[in-house]
């Protein structure tokens, strides 16, 4: 009887377990595990169990072997299963090894490193990061923007290519990162890369994939990766690629989504995997799950998705602790303090509402409070209901003229205030007065630009405000960026975001840039040339805000460069509530990533006024604030 074994075979992603007929080796209790827990099926007529695991075959096999080992059940693998098991073992071994290396590198930081063919000298704080990235098969780099994540990846790539471990870089990221990757490559290696951007029409892309087979650097957006999943998989299979997810928080939704699903299924085909973001957890610790699953697709580092969600619901603080502990060796973070950057100065400027504005704001606030009892109970309806109310208040606090406009930023139609006595005031608002806050912003801009000759970037969430400011500051020749401005040369050769930013950075007389975070918060550096950022208004979207801060506060600043943030707050309004909530969100993220103030890159859907997880809290804070403002608490 000692020779009884379970035979495991794998064909086309189907795993089959067989035992001798009537052998007790796979008794009903064990079969429960396979059938009812892992999802195997019984083969009628025989006692075999099988599962069509498809692309999950590695993971299912691993779970199978793990169970059999735990229960002391002998097994035998056929050739294919044995090869897969070896892959799984190998991957597991590499994971364990990576963890060891990661821990070691964190304890003993590498001080010197030779990077073959690298022309740009690495900064001291970048060297251990390069060692970390090239030492681990799947590694995360959560360094603050401006710390040179691109250079770090390129240096690791140079080392690994020299060792023949990889032969190319495939980067999936927002479109705005394409140009920086190409520019950095040239700056690091002293020559232009053989690069392919996978974009354009459906008919032209197969040709681009053929070119990609010979490229050093392949760039594509998350959307394109989703569109061309099969071609990309083929490319990864036939090469030894380091697959990089730039701004990896793009796949942050724990419930998955098209982008996340695609990159997770591509992950096993990459020789090496890297995730890059300065804001891995823009809203909640749940944001990290998919990103880590991409790094090590066969290891359940953070547990199963559902369990992770459940633990989050049960005890988010304990979960944060656990994540920090489990991920420790796998990520590297260059903190802002490592960069030796000067400490930025925050100026919070409180402005009274203008008289009519105050009337409008109070009327809206009263209405929101009285409406709360009628809030929809259905969650699906409740979210837009809340969002609309928060946007209304924000508009009133920023500029009541916005209320009668369609809001493309948040997809909110003009206010329909039938029954509101203030409707007439809103309609003619711009003929009565200009919000004091806008006046104060204009005044500060003039002082900084005209009197001091400084370059200034002004942030507001509303396109209408961008236009208003452009008109009132027309004499300063401002440039503007919002969602409606084409992205690059491909979309419009004359006017596009890449060009506007280049002009702002290079033409001395162009001193003023007015932007919204949805269109401009990612992948651009305005530091060195611009020391002042003015915030007309902000939303509850923490990612946008944190990311926007780092546009002007990043590597390259000297000790004597003084960065100033001017935050305008309408007194006793939602502005103040947003201010404290943003600070909370920021602190929470920093705590998880081991202290320090840091910020940045994120491209979130412009329609996202704030993320779902926090929405409830945001709204609760608004209600508390309103009661206080209206003296009802």
């Amino acid at each position: 009887m000692g020779t009884e074994v379970v035979r495991i075979s794998v064909v086309n992603g189907i795993i089959q377990l067989t035992a001798e007929k009537d052998s007790p080796i796979l008794g009903w209790q064990h079969r429960i595990y396979f059938v009812n827990i892992l999802g195997f099926q019984r083969d009628e007529g025989t006692s075999a169990l099988y599962i069509d695991a498809g692309s999950n075959v590695h993971k299912k096999l691993q779970e199978t072997l793990q169970y059999l080992r735990e229960k002391g059940i002998s097994f035998e693998l056929d050739e294919r299963a044995s090869k897969l098991a070896m892959d799984v073992e190998d991957e597991h071994h590499r994971f364990e090894r990576s963890k060891e290396i990661g821990s070691e590198l964190k304890k003993n930081r590498v001080a010197t490193l030779t990077v073959p063919g690298f022309k740009r000298p690495l900064k001291l704080y970048q060297i251990p990061a390069v060692a970390h990235l090239s030492g681990l098969d799947g590694a995360a780099n959560f360094s603050v923007p401006g710390s040179g994540k691109t250079s770090i990846v390129l240096a690791a790539y140079a080392i690994l290519r020299e060792n023949h471990e990889i032969d190319r870089l495939v980067v999936i990221g927002p479109r705005a990162c394409f140009m920086p990757w190409e520019d950095e490559y040239e700056a690091c290696f002293g020559k232009k890369p053989n690069t392919v951007r996978i974009s354009g029409s459906k008919t032209s892309r197969p040709g681009l994939f053929r070119d990609a087979a010979n490229a050093d650097l392949v760039l594509l957006s998350y959307q394109m990766a989703a569109n061309d999943q099969q071609d990309l998989e083929a490319l990864l299979r036939q090469s030894k690629a380091m697959l990089v997810l730039d701004e990896s928080h793009n796949i942050k939704r724990i419930e998955g989504g098209r982008w996340a699903d695609v990159v997770l299924s591509l992950a096993p085909f990459a020789k090496r995997r890297v995730i890059l973001t300065g804001t891995p957890i823009p809203n909640s610790i749940q944001d990290i799950w998919s990103q880590i699953a991409f790094l090590w697709p066969n290891e359940t580092i953070l547990g199963e998705r559902e369990q992770f969600r459940y633990q989050f619901d049960k005890n988010p603080t304990a979960l944060e602790e656990q994540v920090r502990r489990d991920l420790g060796p796998l990520y590297w973070r260059i903190h802002k303090r490592d960069l030796g950057l000067p400490i930025p100065q925050f100026h919070r400027i409180s402005v009274e509402l203008s008289p009519y504005q105050s009337t409008i704001y109070r009327a809206l606030a009263t209405k929101v409070l009285s409406d709360v009892v009628h809030a929809p109970e259905d969650r699906v309806k409740l979210r837009p209901w809340r969002k609309a109310r928060m946007v209304r208040l924000l508009q009133a606090a920023s500029n009541p003229s916005l209320l009668k406009e369609n809001s493309p930023e948040f997809q909110i139609p003009p206010l329909e205030a039938s029954g509101l006595s203030i409707m007439e005031i809103i309609d003619r608002y711009s003929s009565y007065e200009k919000p004091k806050k806008l006046l104060a912003v204009e005044k500060l801009v003039r002082t900084l630009v005209s009197e001091k000759g400084e370059k200034v970037v002004v942030w507001t969430s509303f396109v209408h405000n961008i236009e208003t400011l452009r008109n009132s500051l027309a004499d300063l020749n401002p440039m503007i960026i919002h969602g409606g401005i084409p992205k690059d040369d491909k979309e419009d050769e004359e006017i596009n975001r890449e060009r506007i930013i280049r002009d702002f950075k290079t033409i001395d007389s162009r001193k003023l840039l007015i932007v919204n975070p949805g269109a401009c918060a990612e992948s651009i550096s305005l530091h060195k040339i611009c020391m002042h950022a003015i915030y007309v208004d902000r939303t509850f979207n923490g990612a946008h805000y944190m990311q926007s801060l780092d546009r002007i506060h990043r590597v390259g600043l000297g000790e004597n460069d003084h960065v100033h943030y001017w935050i305008f707050l309408s007194k006793n309004t939602i502005d103040e509530i947003i201010d404290s909530r943003l600070e909370e969100k920021q602190n929470r993220m920093l705590r998880i990533l081991d202290e320090d103030f840091s910020v940045l890159d994120l491209d979130v859907d412009e329609s996202a006024f704030s993320e779902e997880i926090d929405e409830e809290k945001d709204f609760a804070a608004v209600l508390t604030g309103l009661k206080k403002e209206l003296g009802q608490d």
Binding site: Q29, R31, I32, N36, I37, R42, E304, Y310
Partner: protein, 390 residues
């Protein structure tokens, strides 16, 4: 369905050579490839037809019979056809009798549907009754089934759709029993249909998630039958009540544990649930409590102590049921920890139920031990609570 049997040729010949057997006043509507088609109806001799043994409506009964006979039934063999006929006639005796009276009085008004090689898709019971009448009376009018013949190019998937579409048009569960419903759904998956296709074929009667959960319930039933050495005996589940136990086990216990706790916890609870279900002494509402128990360390320990998954002895099972009930009490009590007064009152009421005059309790060591524990716990609690008050 592209295997050309001898029977298919005979059937084809018969239809070709007997245009007079067409029943012009009847047409059989069938949804094929998303198109409604109206097929001609013929009077077809019963001897050219066979029962469709994959017909979900009597899967449970069929599997039971096969398991009893320890062989598969072949509807093309006369002896087996008789057995199948009996199964069909006995499945719902009352309805069978009504249908029989109807067929005697009015003849067959509603046409059946058969595959091109004579397997009856819709009208198996009618055929069984006609066969019975034919052999009992020898009357030729009972020797035919009015039916339409499906085209040759229909594949397994399409066939399942047609069949299921017809059967689910009525309340399948009520008509054929809950376990046959589950088996019918699984058959759809086996025919190669995706869950989306099945859901669509059944007019959205089941969402995809519901289908998933139904199929999982059936897997649990399979495991249960295996654990009680009754593999394939679905017949035991023809009552809604028993399937309900498994619905609760899957939807309220296994799935939440799997998704929210761990695979291990989910795997651990199943054998316990099986023994509880086997005891026939728990309700589906009690089964649901297993989830809370598995998540409460003390309650779980109380329940699993000494659990022997393979021991089906009555005393062992009833012991498990007792410990399960105790564990439920523990979990419920915890939920009420903010209401200590109610808890104590309940305890008093329970103690009051013990009959001190019952000689069986005298000198019962276990009972006395428990009483001592109770005494000590009550004493400690009393001291603490009264002291804090001072």
């Amino acid at each position: 369905m592209d295997i050309f049997t001898e029977r298919s040729k005979v059937l084809e010949e018969y239809i070709k050579n007997n245009p007079n057997q067409l029943v012009p006043e009847l047409k059989a509507p069938v949804l094929i490839g998303g198109q409604n088609q109206y097929l001609p109806v013929y009077r077809i001799p019963l001897k050219l037809l066979i029962y469709n043994i994959r017909n979900g409506r009597f899967s449970a009964e069929l599997l039971k019979k096969e398991s009893d006979l320890k062989r598969k039934l072949d509807p093309s063999i006369e002896q087996d056809a008789k057995i199948l006929q009996e199964i069909l006639l006995q499945q719902k005796p009352d309805e069978t009798e009504n249908l029989m009276n109807d067929l005697i009085t009015h003849g067959q008004l509603d046409p059946g549907l058969v595959t091109f090689d004579g397997a009856v898709i819709n009208a198996n019971r009618r055929m069984a009754i006609l066969s019975k009448l034919h052999s009992e009376t020898g009357n030729d009018r009972y020797g035919y089934l009015k039916a339409a013949v499906l085209p040759k190019n229909i594949n397994e998937k399409e066939l399942w759709r047609i069949e299921a579409g017809l059967q689910f048009a009525k309340d399948f569960r009520l008509e054929y029993g809950p376990v046959n419903e589950l088996l019918k759904l699984r058959e759809g998956v086996k025919s190669g249909l995706t869950l989306t296709e099945i859901s669509q074929s059944l007019g959205g009667r089941f969402t995809i998630n519901e289908l998933k959960s139904r199929l999982k319930v059936l897997e649990l039933i399979d495991s249960y039958l295996e654990s009680t050495n009754q593999k394939g005996q679905y017949i035991k589940f023809q009552g809604q009540r028993k399937v309900e136990l498994f619905n609760s086990l899957n939807d309220n216990v296994v799935e939440p544990l799997l998704n929210k706790v761990s695979k291990k916890a989910a795997a651990e609870v199943i054998p316990i649930a099986f023994r509880l279900i086997e005891s026939e002494n728990v309700t589906y509402l009690e089964v649901r409590k297993l989830r809370g128990i598995m998540q409460d360390k003390n309650a779980k320990e109380t329940m699993v102590t000494g659990f022997q998954p393979d021991n089906h002895k009555e005393s062992v099972t009833s012991d498990l049921v007792d410990r399960f009930r105790l564990a439920i009490e523990m979990v419920d009590a915890k939920e009420e920890k903010e209401k200590p007064k109610q808890l104590v009152e309940r305890a008093i009421a329970m103690i009051g139920a013990i009959d001190p005059s019952n000689p069986a309790h005298m000198q019962d060591k276990e009972l006395i031990k428990s009483l001592e524990e109770l005494k000590s716990k009550v004493g400690t609690l009393y001291v603490i609570l009264t002291r804090t008050k001072c």
